[in-house]
C-alpha cells in the first residue's frame, strides 16, 4: 500500500513536470539576470524569481544568477528572499534583468512565537510586545519577571528587592480584585508559578500578549495577559561553546534618618512632659511660673533633662553600679552598656555583598538534529546580612528530524534554588528592617559578654535585635527543586498541514526547615527553641495537540488555520511538623526527631483541572489586509458543572497602510505602517479550587474542644469551613485595542502606539458574608466590574555613521483603573489589610482599586483659639468638651470635617490618595564606537502616592523605638508655622490615625543600568581561537531621583508573590531597599 502511494505520488509529480514543460515550451523568450543585495552588491543565492500570477519560477544559484522563460513583455517578475523587500519588475524588452534587493526592515520579518504557533511580526494584529532579550538580560536579575521592569510599555513590575524575593507583574493595570498575575507560557507549557527557578540566561525570545485578541487563545487564564517565553535552540553549524559570567558587589543605597541616643532621650523627655502636664499648656507652652512635673523613667532618671546612663540593662545604672561579673546567660541576667552615641542599626544589618553568575552552554545543529545545552550557577548574596539566593540549573533542548516530515524534540530544565530571606518576610513590622528603626538607639549591638544585646530589661520596648534575628535565621533555607519542560512531536501530514502534540510537566518540591533558637536578649523572648519543617510538592501536566494548515490562494490570499485541544491537571500537597525543646542548637540537630515536644503537624492537598478546545484563523489579503479570529472553549473544575464551560472569542484586523497606492510615494520616510484593531474576551479562574462547595473542616485550633477537661488534649470537632457558591461563573475581561505600528527612515525609527480598554465584568469577588451567618471562607460571587483604559507608546531609533552607531529608545504607558461596580452600592467598602492602623486602603465603586482611605489634615493649630474654633476632634462639639480636649488645642493636627457635622470622628474618613501612577516609562540608549559600546537604561513612574506606614513607628509616640529626625526637628512647638507633626505628647494615640500625613509622592526615576562593553577585535579573538569575546563593566541602580523619604520608592504589594494582595498596594511597611551594584562581566564563545 505504502509502495503504491509513493509510486502514485511520483507519477503525479512527473505528470505535473511534463505539463509544466509543455506550457513552458509554449513561451517565446528567455531572460537571465542576477539578484544582488542592495547594500553591498553581492550576489544573493536562493532568491525566488517568479512570474507573477503563474506557477513559473526559479531560484537563483550560488552567484545570485538565474535564467527563466517568460511569455511576453507584459510579464511581471516577482523577486523575493527572506530578509529582503520583495520587488516586482515588468520584463518589457529586457533580456538581462539585474535586481538589487533592499534589506527588509529586519524587525518586521522577525518570526514571533504567539499562542500555539508563530507569526511574522508584520502580520500581527493584536497588541504584542516583543522584548529585546539581549537588553533584558543585560541587567542582572534573579527572576525574569523582575528583568522586565521598564522594558515594555504597559507592563508594571514590582519586586521586594531581596534576593529571590517575590515579583509582581501586572499588564495593563489591574483587571480584578483577585489574582492579577499573567500566565507564563514557556516553550508552550503554561505556568503561573514563581519564576525564580527559571534560568533567564536560557531565554531566546520573549513576547507579551497584552490584549484579548492576542491572548484569548489562552482563554480562561489569559485575562491578565500572557508572557510567551522561548528558550534557546541550537542553530545550524558546528558545536558552539559559550561562557558568560559576571561578578559584582552590591550595597545598600540609603537608610532612614533616625535619632542618636541624646536626641532620642530629649524627644522622649519632651513628649513625656507634655503628656504629664497637658492641662497646663497654654498655646502650646507653659506660662511662666507653671509648676510642671518631670518624667520618672528608670533609664533616664527623673530630672528636668534626661541623663544618658552607662548601662542600658539594668536600666539607668551608672558606671560602677553594676557588677559585670554577675552576668549569667542561663538565668538571663544579661548586662548591657548603653550606647551613648546611638547604634546605627541599619549599618549593623546591611553590608556589601557579592553577586555572580556563570553560564556555560553548547549548541549546534546538523541536518538531523539541533541541540542546546547549558549549565548555570547564580549566586546573589543579600545586602542584608545572612540572606541570599542561589540557583543551579541545567537545560537540554533538542530536536531531531526523524525524516523530512517528522520531528520530535524536548525542552527540559532542572533547577535547584536555595534562599534565605529576612525573618518574617518583606513588608512586616516584625522583620529586621522594621526592627532597625523600632529598636532604641541606646541598645548596643553586643552586651558586655559579646553576646547580642537586646531590649531585655526595663524601658527598652519590645523590638528584637535585627542583627541577631538575621544571624539565627542564616541556616533556614528554603529549598526548591523544579523540573520544567516538555516533549513534542510534529508531523507534516501534507507540506502545509502540520500536526503537533506536546506534553509538558511542571514539578516542584519545596522544603523549609525553619529553626528558631531561643533569644534571651529579646524582651519578649520566645523561651524555647522550635523547629518547623515544611514540605510541599506540586505536579502539573499540560497536554496539547494542534493541527496547523497554511495555504496561499492565488498570490494574494494567505490563510492559516489552526485547531487544537488542551488538558491540564494540577495537584499539590503539603505537610508540616513542628517540635520544640531541642537539646542543642547545632545545625546537625535541627531535625524533627531531635525535638522533645511535638507542637503540631498538618497537611493537605489541592487539585484542579482544565479541558479546552481552541481554534484560530488568519487571513491576509495581498499583505495589506489582515484578519485574525480565535476562539477557545474552556471547562474548569473550579466551577460547578452547570457553569463550568465558557467561550472566549476574539477578532482583530490589520491594515498595512504602506501597501496602499496612496502611500507609495512616502517610502523615503515612511517605510511601513500598520493600523491594528482588536476586540476579544479573556477569563480568570483564580478563585481557589473548591469555591463551589460548602465544606466542613476539622482544625485543632478552631474546631477542637477539651470537653473531657483533660487540659492537655482536646476532642475533635468540625465546623463549616467554607460557604460554597455553586453559581459562580467565569470572570470575563473584554478588551478593545487600537494600535499603530510604523517604521520610518528605512527602519531607523520604529514606533508602536496602542490605545486600549479592558473591562472585567462578572468580576469574581469574595463577598463578605455578614457574620450572623457564621464565619467561614467567603464565596466568590460574580458581582463586580472593573475597567482599565490606557495608552502605550514605544519608540526606538537606531543609526550608524561610520564607526559610530547609536540607538535610543523608550516607552511610556498609562492606565486608569476604575472600580465600576462592587455590589452596586456605592457605599460598600472593601478594605485592604489592617496594620497597627485600621485598614487604610479601600476598594469602592467609582474609585481606583485600593485607594488610600483616611482623614484629611488641614495643618496644625497654631494656638488654642484656633483649636477651639474647629470641630470637636473626637469629642462633642461643645465648648466644655473642646476646652478639655488636647486635640482642640495648639499643636494638634487639624482634621478636616468631611461630613461637616461639627465633630471629627470615623465618619470623616474618605478617599485621600491613589497608589496608581499617572504614567510609567523606561528609556534606554546605546552608543557604539568601533569595539566599544555604552548602554544606558533607566526606568521610572510618575504621579503615584505611597502610604509611608513606617512613619507610624518613627514619627508618632507609638511603641518605644527610635524616631525620625523629622519628628525631632519638625514637630510643632510654639510659633513653628512650618511644623509637619503635632506637638510631641507621649500619650497621643490620635494623631497617628491614618491620614494624609502618611501620603507621599512616590514618583521616581532610576538609572537601572550603565554598562560599558568592549568586544575583542576579531583578529585577536581568532588568534586566541575564540569565536567572539566581550568584556564589560556595569553599574546597577547607581542613581535614583525621588522625593520619597522612605528607604526605597519601589513600593508595590505587601507580598509580591502571593495572590489576593492587590487590595492593599503602595504601602511601605519597611520595604527592602534596592541595592546599588557594580559588576564586571565576560562573554566568550569558541
Amino acid at each position: 500500500m505504502g509502495q503504491n502511494v509513493r509510486l502514485m505520488a511520483r507519477w503525479a509529480v512527473s505528470l505535473l513536470l511534463i505539463v509544466g514543460s509543455i506550457v513552458a515550451q509554449a513561451q517565446d523568450r528567455r531572460v537571465t539576470g542576477k539578484v544582488t543585495t542592495g547594500t553591498d552588491g553581492m550576489g544573493l543565492p536562493g532568491a525566488n524569481v517568479q512570474v507573477k500570477g503563474t506557477t513559473l519560477g526559479t531560484v537563483t544559484n550560488a552567484n545570485g544568477s538565474f535564467e527563466l522563460n517568460v511569455r511576453g513583455n507584459n510579464d511581471v517578475l516577482v523577486i523575493s528572499s527572506i530578509g529582503y523587500v520583495k520587488k516586482e519588475i515588468t520584463v518589457g524588452s529586457q533580456s538581462i534583468i539585474n535586481v538589487p534587493l533592499e534589506d527588509d526592515i529586519k524587525s518586521l520579518s522577525e518570526v514571533i512565537v504567539t499562542g500555539y504557533g508563530t507569526q511574522s511580526k508584520r502580520d500581527i494584529t493584536g497588541a504584542v510586545a516583543i522584548i529585546n532579550t539581549e537588553q533584558l538580560l543585560s541587567v542582572p536579575a534573579t527572576n525574569l519577571a523582575q528583568a522586565m521592569q521598564g522594558r515594555v510599555a504597559g507592563v508594571t513590575v514590582g519586586n521586594d528587592n531581596s534576593p529571590g524575593g517575590g515579583v509582581m507583574v501586572r499588564i495593563r493595570g489591574f483587571g480584578t480584585i483577585n489574582d492579577n498575575s499573567p500566565l507564563y507560557v514557556i516553550d508552550g507549557t503554561p505556568t503561573k508559578e514563581n519564576l525564580n527557578t527559571l534560568n533567564l540566561n536560557d531565554i531566546e525570545s520573549m513576547q507579551v500578549l497584552k490584549d484579548a485578541s492576542a491572548a484569548s487563545i489562552y482563554g480562561s487564564r489569559a485575562a491578565n495577559g500572557v508572557v510567551i517565553i522561548t528558550t534557546k535552540k541550537g542553530k545550524a553549524g558546528k558545536p558552539k561553546l559559550t561562557y558568560d559570567a559576571y561578578y559584582g558587589q552590591q550595597r545598600a543605597n540609603r537608610f532612614l534618618d533616625l535619632l542618636n541616643t541624646q536626641q532620642f532621650a530629649d524627644l522622649l523627655w519632651e513628649s513625656r512632659i507634655n503628656a504629664q502636664n497637658t492641662a497646663k499648656l497654654v498655646d502650646g507652652a507653659y506660662p511662666a511660673g507653671t509648676i510642671i512635673s518631670y518624667p520618672n523613667i528608670a533609664m533616664f532618671g527623673n530630672g528636668t533633662t534626661p541623663v544618658i546612663p552607662f548601662y542600658a540593662n539594668p536600666a539607668g545604672k551608672k558606671q560602677g553600679e553594676v557588677d559585670e561579673g554577675a552576668y549569667n546567660f542561663d538565668t538571663r541576667n544579661l548586662i548591657t552598656r548603653a550606647n551613648q552615641q546611638g547604634t546605627d542599626w541599619f549599618d549593623a544589618i546591611f553590608e556589601s555583598a557579592p553577586i555572580q553568575n556563570h553560564q556555560i552552554g553548547v549548541s549546534g545543529a546538523t541536518e538531523a538534529a539541533r541541540y542546546a545545552m547549558s549549565a548555570n550557577i547564580f549566586d546573589q548574596q543579600g545586602i542584608m546580612k545572612n540572606t541570599y539566593f542561589k540557583r543551579y540549573s541545567l537545560r537540554a533542548n533538542t530536536e531531531f528530524n526523524v525524516n523530512k516530515r517528522f520531528r520530535v524534540g524536548e525542552n527540559l530544565q532542572v533547577a535547584y534554588g536555595e534562599r534565605v530571606g529576612q525573618t518574617n518576610g518583606n513588608q512586616s513590622e516584625g522583620n529586621p528592617i522594621s526592627f532597625a528603626y523600632r529598636i532604641p538607639p541606646i541598645v548596643p549591638r553586643f552586651d558586655v559578654n559579646g553576646y547580642f544585646a537586646g531590649g531585655n530589661g526595663t524601658g527598652l520596648d519590645n523590638s528584637r535585635n535585627p542583627e541577631a534575628e538575621l544571624f539565627r535565621n542564616k541556616d533556614n533555607k528554603q529549598q526548591e527543586l523544579r523540573l520544567f519542560g516538555n516533549a513534542y512531536a510534529e508531523f507534516d501530514i501534507l507540506p502545509n498541514l502540520t500536526a503537533k502534540t506536546q506534553f509538558g510537566v511542571d514539578y516542584n518540591t519545596y522544603n523549609l526547615r525553619n529553626y528558631r533558637a531561643n533569644d534571651p536578649e529579646s524582651p519578649e523572648m520566645v523561651g524555647t527553641n522550635t523547629l518547623r519543617t515544611n514540605n510541599n510538592f506540586g505536579f502539573t501536566w499540560t497536554w496539547y495537540n494542534t493541527l496547523n494548515y497554511n495555504t496561499t490562494l492565488g498570490d494574494k490570499h494567505r490563510i492559516n488555520l489552526m485547531v487544537g485541544t488542551e488538558s491540564i491537571k494540577s495537584y499539590n500537597e503539603f505537610v508540616f511538623g513542628e517540635r520544640s525543646g531541642f537539646a542543642v542548637d547545632e545545625l546537625a540537630n535541627r531535625y524533627l526527631n531531635a525535638g522533645k515536644t511535638v507542637v503540631s503537624n498538618g497537611g493537605g492537598g489541592r487539585e484542579w483541572k482544565l479541558a479546552s478546545e481552541f481554534a484560530r484563523a488568519n487571513y491576509s489579503y495581498d499583505n495589506r489586509y489582515l484578519v485574525d479570529f480565535t476562539i477557545r472553549r474552556d471547562r474548569s473544575s473550579r466551577f460547578a458543572p452547570a457553569f463550568r464551560t465558557a467561550y472566549f472569542p476574539s477578532v482583530s484586523a490589520g491594515w498595512v497602510l504602506t501597501e496602499e497606492s496612496f502611500l507609495k510615494g512616502t517610502s523615503s520616510w515612511l517605510s511601513f505602517a500598520k493600523l491594528r484593531i482588536g476586540y476579544g474576551q479573556t477569563g480568570n479562574q483564580e478563585i481557589g479550587n473548591y469555591n463551589a462547595f460548602s465544606t466542613y473542616l476539622s482544625n485543632p485550633e478552631t474546631s477542637f474542644y477539651d470537653l473531657a477537661g483533660a487540659n492537655t488534649s482536646s476532642l475533635q470537632g468540625y465546623e463549616l469551613g467554607q460557604f460554597g457558591n455553586a453559581n459562580a461563573r467565569w470572570e470575563t475581561t473584554t478588551s478593545t485595542n487600537i494600535g499603530l505600528d510604523a517604521t520610518f527612515l528605512g527602519g531607523k525609527l520604529e514606533a508602536n502606539l496602542d490605545w486600549f480598554t479592558r473591562t472585567t465584568s462578572n468580576m469574581l469577588f469574595p463577598v463578605e458574608v455578614q457574620f450572623t451567618q457564621g464565619r467561614a471562607v467567603n464565596p466568590f460571587q460574580n458581582i463586580g466590574e472593573m475597567s482599565n483604559k490606557g495608552v502605550e507608546l514605544g519608540l526606538n531609533f537606531a543609526d550608524k555613521k561610520g564607526d559610530f552607531n547609536y540607538s535610543i529608545g523608550g516607552n511610556i504607558s498609562t492606565y486608569r483603573n476604575n472600580v465600576v461596580k462592587t455590589t452596586g452600592d456605592p457605599n460598600v467598602q472593601y478594605f485592604g489589610f489592617s496594620t497597627r492602623l485600621a485598614a487604610a486602603a479601600v476598594t469602592q465603586q467609582g474609585y481606583p482599586l485600593a485607594s488610600f482611605f483616611g482623614y484629611t489634615l488641614d495643618g496644625i493649630f497654631q494656638n488654642d483659639a484656633e483649636g477651639r474654633a474647629h470641630a470637636g476632634q473626637f469629642v462633642a462639639n461643645t465648648d466644655a468638651a473642646k476646652a478639655a480636649n488636647p486635640f482642640n488645642k495648639a499643636g494638634s493636627f487639624k482634621f478636616r470635617d468631611i461630613n461637616e457635622d461639627g465633630v471629627i470622628n470615623a465618619s470623616d474618613r474618605s478617599v485621600i490618595g491613589n497608589p496608581h501612577p499617572d504614567f510609567s516609562y523606561g528609556i534606554n540608549a546605546s552608543l557604539g564606537y568601533k569595539n566599544f559600546r555604552l548602554d544606558l537604561f533607566g526606568q521610572g513612574i510618575q504621579g503615584n502616592e505611597i502610604f509611608n506606614y513606617v512613619r507610624y513607628f518613627t514619627d508618632f509616640p507609638t511603641f518605644g523605638g527610635n524616631r525620625s529626625l523629622r519628628m525631632y526637628e519638625k514637630s510643632w512647638r510654639p510659633g513653628m508655622t512650618d511644623a509637619v507633626l503635632p506637638i510631641p505628647r507621649s500619650n497621643d494615640v490620635i494623631s497617628s490615625l491614618p491620614s494624609t500625613y502618611y501620603l507621599e509622592d512616590g514618583s521616581y526615576f532610576r538609572f537601572k543600568n550603565i554598562q560599558l562593553n568592549y568586544t575583542l577585535p576579531k583578529a585577536i579573538s581568532d588568534k586566541l581561537g575564540m569565536g567572539s569575546a566581550k568584556v564589560y563593566v556595569q553599574g546597577q541602580n547607581w542613581f535614583t531621583f525621588t522625593k520619597y523619604t522612605g528607604l526605597d520608592p519601589e513600593i508595590n504589594l505587601r507580598s509580591s508573590s502571593a495572590s489576593g494582595q492587590d487590595i492593599h498596594m503602595g504601602f511601605d511597611e519597611g520595604s527592602y531597599p534596592a541595592s546599588r551594584a557594580t559588576l564586571v562581566g565576560l562573554s566568550v564563545s569558541f
Binding site: 530589661g457 507542637v599 473548591y690 473531657a708 470537632g717 457564621g774 485600621a838
Partner: protein, 570 residues
C-alpha cells in the same frame, strides 16, 4: 515503508486526541481533607459538629485581620478595661484600639467590636448547624437527640447572651432562619429585644440537660444552663424569675465554695466544686499556635524582670481597684471612701493598712509573691510611667506547671480555665435578689459566706517564710443590714471584689444602672494618676452599649437597604 507507518499512526493518535475532547468526569474534583454536610448527618457527625460549636466558648476563632483577644470569652477589654478595674496597660502605642475603648472614644469601625460580633455569631451559626444536622440524623434515639438539642440550644442562648450584653439591639438567629447555603438568610433586623428568645433557649436546656456528664466536665449541664438562665434574668432585673432557679442550684447540693479563693484561678483546680460553667482550655493538644490555651488572654502577662512570661504587659489593674481592697478596722470594705487615699504602688508591702486578701490574688503588686514566679517587681512592667506598677494575675499559670499545663512553646498559652459562672456568682446574685425582693438578713448571709471564705488564712498569699504578704483583715458583716440602699451597695461592692479582673464589671455596672456616675467619678480621679485618661468621660445614653460594627451594618444589606441599625449615639 516503516518510516511512513510511524508518522501515520502518530497522526492517527493525534487526530484521536483532537477529536475526542476530555469528558466531563475529568473535571470532577472534590475538596481534599474536608467533608460535605451529607457525610455528617449521623450520630458521629452530629457529635463532631457539636464539639465544634463548643469550641468557640473560649471566644477564639476570629478570621484574618482580627486578633484572638477581640472575642475573648473573659471580655477583658469590654468588661474590665472599659470599666474601673483595669487599664489597657503595657505602653502607649501598643494596640491603640484598646486605648480608644478605654478612653470612650470608640467608633463603630473598630476591629475589636467586629471581632467580638464575629465570634458570638459564629457560635450561633455552629449551634444552628448542630440543630439542623440532628434533625436529619437517622441513627439517633429521641433521647440522644434531645441531649444534643439541649446542649446546642444552651450554646445558642449563651452566644446570643454575649451579643446582647455587648450590643443590646442584636438579631436572634435560630435554626429555622439560618440556611448555610443562602447568605441572605440571616439578614434580620435588630429591632427587637431578644431576651425572650435567649430565655427560651436556656430554659429548654435547663429543663432537658443532665446534672452532670460523667467524664465530660466541659459539656453544658442543667446547672450551667440554669445559672446562665438566672444570669439572663438578673440582666433584666427580673429577680422573681431568677431567685427560684438560683435557690434550686443551692439546694441541688452539687456545689460549694472552695476553701481557698485562689482555687478558682489555677489550672490544677479546674472544674472544681465551685465551678458551674467553665471554659475549657487545653495545651499541647496539637493546635498549631495553641489557640485552645486561652489565646484570648495572650497579651495579659507580665513583661520581664524574671517573670515566667515576657509579654505583653497588658491589662494592668487600676489604682482604684487596688484601693477598693482596703478594709476598715472591722475588716469591712470602705464602700464610700476607699478611693480617698491610695495604697502605694511602690513599696506596697510596707503598706500597713488593712487589706482584703483577695487583692493579692487579683493583682500583682510590687514586693508580693507572684504565684510561684518570684517577687513581683518593676521589671514585670513594660512601661511603669504609663500604666502603673500592677500586673494581672488570675489567669496566669504557675512556673511549676510550665510545659505541662502551659504550651511547650510559650507559657502564655495555658490550661488555667476561665470560670464564667461559679457558685459565688449564684450566692451573690441571690444576695441581690434578697436585697431587691426579699430579706436583707438573708442577703447578708450570702455575702458573709463569700467573705468567710476570703478570710480563710490558708488561702492568703504568703512569703516563703509563711508570713502573709499583706496586712490582711477581712471580716463578715456582723451588724444587721437595715438600709436597702446600703445593703445594695455592699452586695455590689462584694461583686466587684470577688470577681475583680474577670470581665464582668462593666456589664454589672450597666445592669445596675450606675455605670455613668461610677465611671465618671472614677475617671475624674484616675486621670490625675494616668495622664492618658485625661478628659475621658462616659456618655450616658450612649456608652452603656458598644456600637454595632459598621462593616456588619454594611454587609447586612438586602436590596440596598441595611437591615441592621446602629445603636444610639454612634
Amino acid at each position: 515503508m516503516k518510516s511512513i507507518i510511524k508518522p501515520i499512526s502518530f497522526a492517527a493518535v493525534l487526530l484521536a486526541g483532537l477529536t475526542t475532547s476530555c469528558n466531563d468526569s475529568f473535571l470532577d474534583v472534590v475538596p481534599l481533607g474536608e467533608l460535605s454536610e451529607a457525610t455528617l448527618r449521623n450520630k458521629a457527625g452530629v457529635d463532631l459538629v457539636l464539639t465544634g460549636a463548643y469550641s468557640i466558648m473560649d471566644g477564639v476563632n476570629v478570621g484574618p485581620g482580627f486578633s484572638d483577644w477581640h472575642g475573648s470569652a473573659d471580655n477583658w477589654v469590654y468588661g474590665s478595661v472599659a470599666s474601673d478595674d483595669a487599664y489597657k496597660g503595657t505602653n502607649a502605642g501598643d494596640q491603640p484600639e484598646i486605648s480608644i475603648i478605654e478612653t470612650f472614644q470608640h467608633t463603630p469601625d473598630l476591629n475589636h467590636f467586629r471581632g467580638k460580633w464575629q465570634v458570638v455569631y459564629d457560635g450561633v451559626a455552629r449551634s444552628n448547624d448542630v440543630l439542623q444536622l440532628v434533625e436529619k440524623a437517622t441513627d439517633m434515639t429521641a433521647a440522644e437527640k434531645t441531649a444534643v438539642i439541649a446542649q446546642a440550644r444552651f450554646l445558642r442562648g449563651h452566644y446570643h447572651f454575649e451579643a446582647k450584653k455587648m450590643f443590646n439591639m442584636v438579631p436572634y438567629i435560630d435554626e429555622k432562619t439560618y440556611n448555610s447555603n443562602d447568605a441572605n438568610s440571616t439578614k434580620l433586623p435588630n429591632d427587637k429585644d431578644i431576651w425572650p428568645n435567649i430565655v427560651e433557649d436556656l430554659k429548654f436546656a435547663y429543663d432537658n440537660l443532665p446534672n452532670r456528664w460523667a467524664g465530660f466536665p466541659g459539656r453544658a449541664t442543667k446547672w450551667g444552663a440554669g445559672a446562665t438562665l438566672a444570669k439572663a434574668y438578673m440582666f433584666q432585673s427580673n429577680f422573681t424569675a431568677a431567685k427560684p432557679i438560683l435557690e434550686a442550684i443551692v439546694n441541688s447540693g452539687q456545689f460549694r465554695l472552695m476553701d481557698k479563693y485562689h482555687d478558682n484561678h489555677r489550672a490544677v483546680t479546674n472544674n472544681n466544686a465551685e465551678s458551674i460553667l467553665e471554659v475549657q482550655f487545653s495545651v499541647n493538644d496539637g493546635a498549631n499556635i495553641s489557640r485552645n490555651g486561652n489565646r484570648g488572654h495572650t497579651l495579659n502577662y507580665p513583661y520581664g524582670g524574671g517573670a515566667l512570661t515576657t509579654c505583653c504587659g497588658f491589662f494592668q489593674p487600676t489604682q482604684n481597684l487596688v484601693n477598693a481592697h482596703k478594709t476598715d478596722a472591722n475588716g469591712l470594705p470602705q464602700l464610700d471612701t476607699f478611693n480617698n487615699v491610695d495604697v502605694p504602688a511602690e513599696n506596697s508591702v510596707s503598706y500597713q493598712g488593712n487589706l482584703d486578701p483577695r487583692l493579692d490574688w487579683s493583682v500583682g503588686r510590687t514586693g508580693v509573691p507572684y504565684l510561684d514566679w518570684g517577687i513581683h517587681n518593676i521589671g514585670y512592667i513594660r512601661d511603669p510611667a504609663y500604666a502603673g506598677l500592677y500586673s494581672p494575675k488570675k489567669q496566669s499559670p504557675y512556673r511549676s506547671e510550665n510545659g505541662s499545663l502551659t504550651w511547650s512553646n510559650n507559657p502564655r498559652q495555658n490550661a488555667n480555665n476561665y470560670r464564667i459562672i461559679r457558685y459565688s456568682h449564684v450566692l451573690l446574685w441571690l444576695a441581690e435578689c434578697e436585697v431587691e425582693i426579699g430579706d436583707l438578713t438573708k442577703a447578708r448571709g450570702f455575702v458573709n459566706q463569700i467573705r468567710r471564705r476570703a478570710a480563710n488564712p490558708d488561702g492568703f498569699v504568703k512569703f516563703t517564710d509563711g508570713k502573709p504578704a499583706g496586712n490582711y483583715v477581712v471580716k463578715e458583716y456582723t451588724e444587721a443590714w437595715t438600709d436597702k440602699a446600703e445593703a445594695r451597695k455592699a452586695v455590689r461592692f462584694e461583686h466587684r471584689l470577688e470577681f475583680a479582673m474577670e470581665g464582668h464589671r462593666y456589664f454589672d455596672l450597666v445592669r445596675w444602672g450606675i455605670i455613668e456616675p461610677t465611671l465618671n467619678a472614677y475617671l475624674a480621679v484616675e486621670e490625675t494618676k494616668r495622664s492618658y485618661l485625661r478628659g475621658s468621660r462616659f456618655v450616658k445614653g450612649k456608652h452603656e452599649y458598644f456600637p454595632i460594627p459598621n462593616q456588619e451594618i454594611l454587609n447586612s444589606q438586602l436590596s440596598g437597604q441595611a437591615t441592621l441599625k446602629q445603636n444610639p449615639g454612634y
